[in-house]
């Protein structure tokens, strides 16, 4: 597989607080990579760095072989999309919400219409185009956010706890959507989750973050059956005390 991200000795601090330290990692095109770990270990910050919403304090972030990705922030960001735990909804219709990424890319109206309808069909919201987005339920809003994130076919989709606070039915729907996006659009998906079972169902490779350090990166199979690090084993088996 082709290398999409290369992270070398990356650290991130906010003031005196070190959130991430000495991260070294490669992420490959087309895979689903999951950062796993308890709350507050730096998973969200890691995703924000990969989305270039934050800049590393030290170290390198190389995207698609482009080692000055940081300098070309905006062009690179246009190839990515990120979903937050709670989606931000624009105070307008579902159609306008989903169309946003295409509108700012100056795509023509006819194409926008077709792509929005296709994206809404993928997330199971066909026919909701004219509904006010603020009237959607939590699960529907998250699915609309998925449609908005994938409508312009990003190379990378970053998901920050995409099913937190959702009921089991919506969790199942969202997971189905993630699988569909990967198989139909070949999008590289990087997610952060503390839900071990969800990571097991979706990810190809897993990285475990503890106290700002990436303690182990492994294939899902290896990570869940025979992890290299004792702390990984403890976390996966619910024995980790934090």
């Amino acid at each position: 597989m082709e290398e999409l991200y290369r992270i070398e000795d990356l650290s991130k601090s906010f003031g005196n607080k070190k959130v991430l330290q000495n991260i070294n990692l490669k992420i490959f095109t087309g895979e689903i990579f999951a950062f796993m770990g308890p709350s507050g270990v730096g998973k969200t910050t890691m995703l924000r760095l990969l989305n270039l919403l934050e800049m590393p304090t030290t170290g390198k972030l190389i995207f698609n072989g482009n080692d000055n990705a940081i300098l070309q922030k905006n062009n690179v960001m246009r190839r990515m999309s990120m979903l937050f735990q709670r989606p931000a909804i624009f105070n307008t219709s579902v159609f306008n919400n989903v169309a946003y990424g295409l509108v700012i890319r100056r795509v023509d109206k006819k194409t926008i219409e077709k792509k929005v309808i296709d994206a809404l069909a993928i997330v199971g919201l066909a026919g909701c185009e004219n509904q006010k987005a603020l009237t959607l339920s939590g699960g529907e809003a998250q699915r609309m956010a998925f449609a908005r994130a994938i409508v312009f076919k990003p190379d990378v989709l970053l998901l920050d706890e995409p099913t937190a606070n959702l009921d089991p039915a919506n969790v199942a729907k969202i997971e189905e959507i993630i699988r569909k996006i990967r198989s139909e659009l070949s999008t590289t998906i990087i997610m952060a989750s503390h839900n071990i079972y969800q990571v097991r169902r979706l990810a190809d490779r897993v990285g475990i973050l503890l106290n700002g350090e990436l303690i182990e990166v492994n294939t899902k199979e290896q990570m869940f059956t025979n992890p290299n690090d004792a702390r990984s084993y403890a976390f996966i088996n619910g024995e980790f005390i934090y």
């Binding site: 960001m77 990515m80 999309s81 989606p87 700012i104 994130a149």
Partner: protein, 244 residues
């Protein structure tokens, strides 16, 4: 004549003046709308970019500017009137503009009064837009300009409310425009009441002069129009607040 009869007769005559489109009353209403409308338009053109600059741009003196805006929201109109008057009188620093006792001077005074109001309320509306909305714009590939437009769109009802609050304040203002405008009407009389057509006489300043002259029905007519205008602006403002 009892007080009640006096009031009833005043109100009946006031409605007659309004519905007959009395030229004196109409010219005063026209000046009020023109002056306050222009001041609001100019203040809006200043206040909204200013509110966005304060919200999005980092610059030195930003905190001082916010303090200035907050102070400006409570400026006493007579003080503003006096200040503008001293600036534009022939011996003042801007005396060369030759605008004392003109509509331009009244627009200037109202502009100074309402720009901080529109800026302050717009600033609050912009600040109320969740940070996540702006970050979502960036995550979808938007630029800083896109983020500013998205914020404008999200805060639109609050900003419209700010503009309407400014317009309402301008329409109801009396102290500043009385000082710089002089409450001037042409000589003579039109429609059998008051004086000639209004030059710098507005609904508020005319009410003060007509009441002091004892022409209560004309004052009531002007008051009804003023209240209707301010009420309409407030109904609109409430409508947009509810939509927010």
């Amino acid at each position: 004549m009892s007080t009640a009869d006096f009031l009833v007769q005043g109100i009946i005559k006031a409605f007659e003046l309004i519905f007959s489109l009395n030229p004196y009353i109409m010219s005063i209403t026209g000046v009020s709308i023109r002056v306050s409308g222009t001041a609001t338009l100019l203040a809006t053109l200043t206040a909204i970019p200013l509110a966005f600059a304060i919200s999005f741009v980092h610059f030195r003196g930003k905190q001082a500017l916010i303090t200035l805006v907050n102070t400006g929201m409570g400026l006493p109109p007579v003080f503003v009137g006096l200040f503008v008057f001293l600036m534009i009188v022939p011996v003042g620093p801007f005396g060369f503009l030759n605008i004392v006792y003109t509509k331009e001077a009244m627009i200037l005074a109202q502009y100074i009064l309402i720009t901080p109001i529109i800026t302050g309320i717009s600033l609050a509306a912009i600040k109320a837009v969740p940070k996540l909305i702006i970050e979502t714009v960036y995550t979808l590939g938007g630029t800083e300009k896109d983020a500013a437009f998205a914020t404008l769109r999200e805060a639109r009802f609050g900003i419209i409310t700010a503009v309407l609050a400014g317009l309402g304040r301008a329409l109801a203002e009396v102290g500043a425009i009385l000082i710089v405008g002089g409450n001037i009407a042409r000589t003579g009389s039109v429609g059998g009441i008051g004086e000639g057509l209004s030059e710098t006489r507005t609904l508020t300043t005319a009410i003060t002069s007509e009441t002091s002259k004892g022409d209560i029905s004309t004052s009531i007519a002007l008051g009804i129009i003023l209240i209707s205008l301010v009420l309409s602006v407030n109904i609109l403002a409430n409508y947009f607040q509810r939509r927010d």
